[in-house]
Symmetry: C2
C-alpha cells in the first residue's frame, strides 16, 4: 500500500496534537471565584498534561475519509478528550487504581486533593456534553446529528461502556477466573474500546455517513480499540515509568486482568498484531480515503509509548 508511506505520521501527529491542544482550551471557562477558579485550574491541569490525543485524532482522521471540511468536528473532538481525561482522573483515585503519576506529572488528586479531583472529573464529564450541544449547535450541524453524538458518548461511557469496564477491571482484580480470556477482552472493549469506537463513529456521523459506512468503520474501530489496549498492557510490562510518563508494572502489582497476564507477553504481542491486521482489513472494505486512518492504525499497533 504505497499511499501509506506518503504520510509522515510523526509530523501529522505533532501538527494535530498541537492544534487540538490549542483548540481544546478555547472551550474551557474561566472564573474570578477562588473556589471555582481552583476547580477549573485542576481540570486544566489534567487536560494540559497532554496525552496522545489519540481519540480526537482518530475522530478527525475518520472524518477526513469523507472530505476536508472538518472544522465542525472541534466540539466533539474536545468533548471526547474531556471525557477521556475525566476517566483518567477518577481511575487514578486512591480507592480505584491509586496512581501517583500520570503523563509524567503528579495525578490530579495528588496535586489538588481527592475531593477536588472527584469534582474535576464530574465537571469535565458535564462540560463535555455542554460543549457538544452548545458549540455543535453553532456550527449548524443538524440537531438530530448532535443528539446522535450525545447518545454515542453516553452509550460509550456508561454502565455498559467505560464505567462498566472500570467496574469489571476493579471487580476481577486479584481473581483468577476460569474464563479469564473472555473477561479480559470484555473489560478492554468496555473500558477503552467503547470510547475509541465512539470517536470513530462520531467522526463518521458528523460527516453524514451512510449506515453501511458506519457499520464498516465500527468493525474497524472494534479491532483498533482492542489492539490499542493490548499494546497498553504490553507497555505497562516492558517500559519504565520515565519512558511512559506514568507508573508501570502496576497492572501486575494489582493482579489486573491483562493480555500479558492471561496469555503471556509474546502471545499478547501476537494478538495485538492480529487485531491491528483485522482493523486494516476492515479499512480495505471501506470505500473512502482511508490512507490516514491506515497509517494511524499501523502507528498505534507499533507504538512504544
Amino acid at each position: 500500500m504505497p499511499t501509506s508511506t506518503l504520510l509522515d505520521i510523526d509530523l501529522y501527529l505533532k501538527e494535530k496534537t498541537d492544534w487540538i491542544d490549542k483548540q481544546i482550551f478555547r472551550f474551557m471557562p474561566a472564573s474570578d471565584s477562588p473556589a471555582i477558579g481552583r476547580l477549573i485550574e485542576s481540570v486544566n491541569y489534567s487536560l494540559r498534561a497532554g496525552g496522545k490525543r489519540i481519540r480526537p485524532i482518530l475522530m478527525l482522521a475518520t472524518a477526513e475519509c469523507f472530505g476536508d471540511s472538518t472544522e465542525h468536528l472541534l466540539p466533539a473532538m474536545a468533548a471526547v478528550e474531556m471525557i477521556h481525561t475525566y476517566s483518567l482522573i477518577h481511575d487514578d483515585l486512591p480507592s480505584m487504581d491509586n496512581d501517583d503519576l500520570r503523563r509524567g506529572q503528579p495525578t490530579n488528586h495528588k496535586k489538588y486533593g481527592e475531593a477536588t479531583a472527584i469534582l474535576a472529573g464530574d465537571a469535565l464529564m458535564t462540560y463535555a456534553y455542554e460543549v457538544v450541544v452548545r458549540y455543535t449547535d453553532r456550527t449548524r450541524v443538524n440537531p438530530r446529528i448532535v443528539l446522535q453524538v450525545v447518545q454515542e458518548l453516553g452509550q460509550a461511557t456508561g454502565v455498559f461502556g467505560m464505567v462498566g469496564g472500570q467496574m469489571m477491571d476493579l471487580y476481577y482484580e486479584k481473581h483468577t477466573m476460569p474464563n479469564a480470556a473472555e473477561l479480559v477482552r470484555e473489560i478492554h472493549q468496555r473500558k477503552t474500546g467503547a470510547l475509541i469506537r465512539a470517536a470513530v463513529r462520531i467522526g463518521a456521523v458528523l460527516m453524514q455517513c451512510t449506515q453501511i459506512q458506519l457499520d464498516q468503520l465500527t468493525i474497524y474501530a472494534n479491532h483498533l480499540g482492542l489492539a490499542f489496549q493490548i499494546v497498553d498492557d504490553i507497555l505497562d510490562v516492558e517500559c519504565t515509568p520515565e519512558e511512559l510518563g506514568k507508573s508501570t508494572g502496576s497492572d501486575e502489582a494489582r493482579a489486573k486482568l491483562t493480555y500479558p497476564a492471561v496469555y503471556g507477553l509474546e502471545p499478547a504481542k501476537s494478538l495485538a498484531r492480529d487485531q491491528g491486521k483485522l482493523a486494516l482489513a476492515a479499512l480495505d472494505q471501506f470505500n473512502g480515503h482511508v490512507d490516514t486512518l491506515r497509517v494511524l492504525t499501523e502507528h498505534i499497533v507499533a507504538r512504544r509509548k
Copy 2:
C-alpha cells in the same frame, strides 16, 4: 387564593412520588455480568432510597401550568432525579462530606465501597443524558428542544452550577469570611438552586413556553431554590437524624457556610419565608394555571423534613 386549598398537597405528593418511583426504574438497565450487575445494584440502591422527588415533581407541576399532556416529560424527570442522586452519592464520599447515613440508610460508599460509589455516580450522570436523548427522541419532541434540555442540565450541574457549588461548599468550610452572606447565597444558588431552576425551566421548555414565560418562571425558581436550601439548613439544625433520615448537625460540625450559621436561626427562618413570598409573587406575574406550583411552594417553605 382559595384555589390553593382545593389541592390536597399530601395526596398530590404521594401520588406523584409513587408514580415517579415506578417510572424511573423502567429506565434502568439490567445486566447478567456480576461486576456490572453490582454497579447497577448500587445505582438502584441510591435511586430506590427514595427522596422527596422534589425536582421531577416541580418539573411536572411547571409543565401542568401549560396543559395536561405531560407524558413526554418522563425521561427528563428521570434524568433530573438521576443527576440529583449522583450528586448525593459523590457528596457523601469520605473525601467530601463523609456522611454515613442518607434517607435513613447507609450511604452508597458505606454499603458498596468507595470505588463503586464513585462509579455509581459517574454512571448515573452519564445515564441521565442517555435517557433524555434516547427516550425524549422517541416521544417525538423536537430535537432542538431535546438539545435545550441537555444544555439546561449541563449548565445547571457543571462548574458554574452544582459541581462548582459543591467545590465552594468544601472550600469555605471552617473559614470565617468577611463576605459570608454573599458567599452562602452563591453556594446555595449553585449547589441546590441551579438544578431546581433547571427542573422548572425544562418543564416549561418541554411544553414549548415563550421566552417571557421562561424568564418569569426562572425568577420564581431562583427564589424557590434558595428558600428550599435555607429550609434544608434550618432542618439540619433543628431535626434529629431519625426525623430527617440523614445525619444532622453535620453542617455545624464541619463549620459549613449555612444561613443559620451566618444569620442565626430565627433570621434564617425569616429569610426562608421571604424567599418563599418572592417565589409566590413571581407566580402571580405568570399568566397560567399556577395553582399546583403555588401549593407546592408553600409546602416546600413550611416543610419539616
